[in-house]
């Protein structure tokens, strides 16, 4: 167990290093921060001075080392737009994103699990058909468009809920619901096929042959095993949620990390873009580390490897 944990931790660290490296090279090699910082029409001399001031005249490797150290310390530079450390700007928005993504993950997983279990247990019934159609539609719908449609119906036409912003539970309903649809569709489809696969396993027959009651067989022998791929899926979904919230936060004017990153892109505010991407990636890596650990708990075969 401890070896497994160590390997996973090491992998997570390598992944964080890799992401920070990608962030550095993409932004430093492809765009010159000095040009972006100066107003249009600045002289070459101004540019050189600024470059030297920022350490941009140094060899790339040296710049990389400096940037790595800075980034690892959470220093991503000063936001051009806000005139404050970029990391602070991003961190402030973190709770809102957590609130939204967390709501969607919890409700989406719950709804998806129930729907997927119904579809698998009621094989060949209308219930299965409805769940599967809904899940297929849910997966094919662009999340942000669904958000717009929900605003159209519940805010514009019915006037029940606010079109955007944050602060109250009412503000959370529509964006939360939008993201939950995507989560539950993926979970429902995966759980259904996973349950159907497991139901055919020999050890389920063994469990029945022992005289165990149906609910024991279902929870301990079928669901317990079907859960393993679902947990992996939740790791992937967390990434798509963090990415998807970028668009959803824009649609619903939700003051989260995604929205501020999009605004930063429009304003070419590189420190904020880098800080946002690095932070979200770090959270994603952390979530996947947790998923891996949970996976180890759920599947003893993995643990010993």
């Amino acid at each position: 167990m401890s070896r497994y944990l160590l390997v996973k931790l090491l992998e997570a660290l390598v992944a964080i290093w890799g992401v920070v490296t990608i962030v550095f090279f993409v932004s430093r090699v492809l765009g010159d921060p000095a040009i972006l910082l100066l107003p249009v029409g600045a002289s070459q001399q101004d540019l050189d001075t600024l470059r030297a001031g920022l350490g941009l005249d140094k060899p790339l490797i040296q710049q990389y080392a400096v940037a790595m150290l800075d980034m690892l310390r959470g220093n991503f530079g000063i936001s051009f737009q806000h005139n404050r450390p970029a990391m602070d700007v991003v961190l402030e928005r973190m709770p809102a994103t957590f609130e939204l993504a967390g709501t969607a993950l919890i409700f989406g997983t719950l709804i998806g699990s129930v729907a997927g279990a119904i579809a698998a247990l009621k094989r060949g019934t209308l219930a299965e058909f409805i769940v599967m159609i809904a899940a297929l539609l849910g997966q094919a719908t662009p999340v942000f468009w669904l958000g717009i449609m929900l605003i159209l119906v519940f805010s514009v036409d019915l006037g029940w809920l606010p079109t955007g912003g944050s602060g109250t539970i009412a503000h959370l309903v529509l964006p939360g619901l939008t993201l939950s649809v995507f989560v539950s569709a993926s979970i429902a489809r995966l759980l259904r096929s996973s349950l159907l696969d497991i139901m055919r396993e020999d050890y389920v027959r063994t469990a029945r042959a022992k005289g165990l009651l149906p609910h024991t067989v279902f929870f301990w022998h079928i669901a317990r095993n079907a859960l393993i791929p679902v947990v992996t899926m939740i790791g992937i979904i967390a990434g798509e949620l963090l990415g998807g919230s970028v668009v959803i936060e824009t649609v619903f004017a939700w003051p989260g990390v995604g929205r501020i990153v999009v605004q930063a892109i429009q304003a070419q505010d590189f420190p904020v873009i880098q800080a946002g991407v690095a932070l979200v990636a770090a959270i994603f890596i952390l979530i996947n580390l947790l998923v891996d650990l949970l996976y180890g708990v759920l599947d003893p075969r993995i643990r010993r490897r």
Partner: protein, 338 residues
């Protein structure tokens, strides 16, 4: 004087409704087994040997499976008329199962202890610590060393033979009246197979359970069973005391199976016999003797009328065969004209 048999099956017929037609898996199977007896059921895959056993206790999926007719009287009760709840109470408690391929028949994510304890806690209402004592007792009984420690491990930490021992421990955990072993040694290599068979013989001596041993391997049955029953195409083709069926077979299929066994004295001189033709297509409505298409001795009657399972002429009592032809006469004729 005659005690009622422990298990009596009458006209059991099972079908599966599949997209490509109805599969007649078990057709009119009738037999009985006395308490303490060991019955070997032999047949190739698709002969209905496993399906009929699973269907007795509601372990086949319905649909697509369907019990067309029949009665299964176990210990005075018709199992096919039991409620779901009564079946749950019966399985594992009165009838224990040992399945083939211990690799897939044990749940990979639960400890061995938990998997053996489950039926104990379910049927005897044992507490976790009571069950634990019994689990270790069972593991020792089936010959697993370091039982205490091994109980905490998972199936993937056990070898194939050890896993099969665990399966047997699960099967006998509640001291069932009847133990049904379905291809229990098939997935194991020969030496391990021999060890498991020794274990079963020893367990039978110690606890005296009635056993139905289902296998495709004639050799296994010879060493273990009192009576043997040969199935083909969902029917019983021949049954009787092991010695009589082995040394004096009356069914052409049994004869073919025995000929295809490697014999000590024949080694190297003769090639192994292979039964010609393919297994029967069970989606066809069964007509006549199912083995007739592959039977060199088949008569016209074999192809149109199903032979009943009756006492074989001039044999020991209890030796029954379903055949319109006379195998002994045919073989004599064949060997008379080399």
């Amino acid at each position: 004087m005659t005690k009622a048999p422990l298990l009596e099956i009458r006209n059991l017929t099972v079908a599966f409704d599949t997209p490509s037609g109805t599969v007649h898996a078990v057709n009119d199977v009738s037999y009985s087994i006395e308490e303490g007896e060991t019955l070997g059921i032999v047949g190739e895959s698709g002969s209905g040997k496993s399906v009929h056993a699973l269907s007795m206790v509601g372990l086949i999926a319905t649909p697509p499976g369907r019990i067309v007719r029949g009665e299964v009287i176990f210990n005075g009760r018709n199992l096919l008329a039991l409620s779901q709840r009564e079946l749950f109470d019966l399985r594992g408690r009165e009838i224990g199962f040992v399945f083939q391929d211990p690799m897939t028949s044990l749940n990979p994510v639960l400890t061995i202890e938990r998997q053996i304890a489950e039926p104990l806690r379910r049927h005897f209402g044992m507490s976790a610590s009571q069950a634990r004592i019994r689990v270790i007792e069972l593991l020792e009984l089936v010959g697993i060393p370091d039982a205490e420690q091994r109980a905490r491990q998972y199936p993937h930490e056990f070898s194939g033979g050890m896993r099969q021992r665990v399966m047997i421990a699960i099967g006998i955990s509640c001291n069932p009246k009847l133990l049904i072993a379905d291809e229990a040694t098939t997935a194991l290599d020969v030496t391990v197979q021999a060890q498991i068979l020794d274990l079963v013989r020893e367990l039978k001596r110690k606890i005296g359970t009635t056993v139905i041993w289902i296998t495709h391997d004639m050799g296994v049955v010879a060493g273990l069973a009192d009576t043997v029953q040969v199935m083909y195409g969902g029917r019983i083709m021949e049954s009787g005391p092991v010695r009589s069926v082995f040394y004096d077979p009356r069914g052409a299929y049994t004869w073919g199976l025995l000929k295809s066994l490697p014999h000590g004295e024949r080694r190297g001189t003769n090639r192994l016999y292979q039964i010609p033709g393919n297994p029967p297509d069970l989606t066809q409505e069964p007509v006549g003797d199912p083995f007739a298409p592959r039977n060199p001795f088949a008569t016209d009657r074999c192809r149109v009328e199903t032979p009943p399972l009756v006492n074989a002429p001039d044999s020991v009592p209890g030796h029954k065969v379903a055949a319109w032809y006379d195998l002994r006469a045919e073989i004599q004729r064949m060997e008379g004209r080399p």
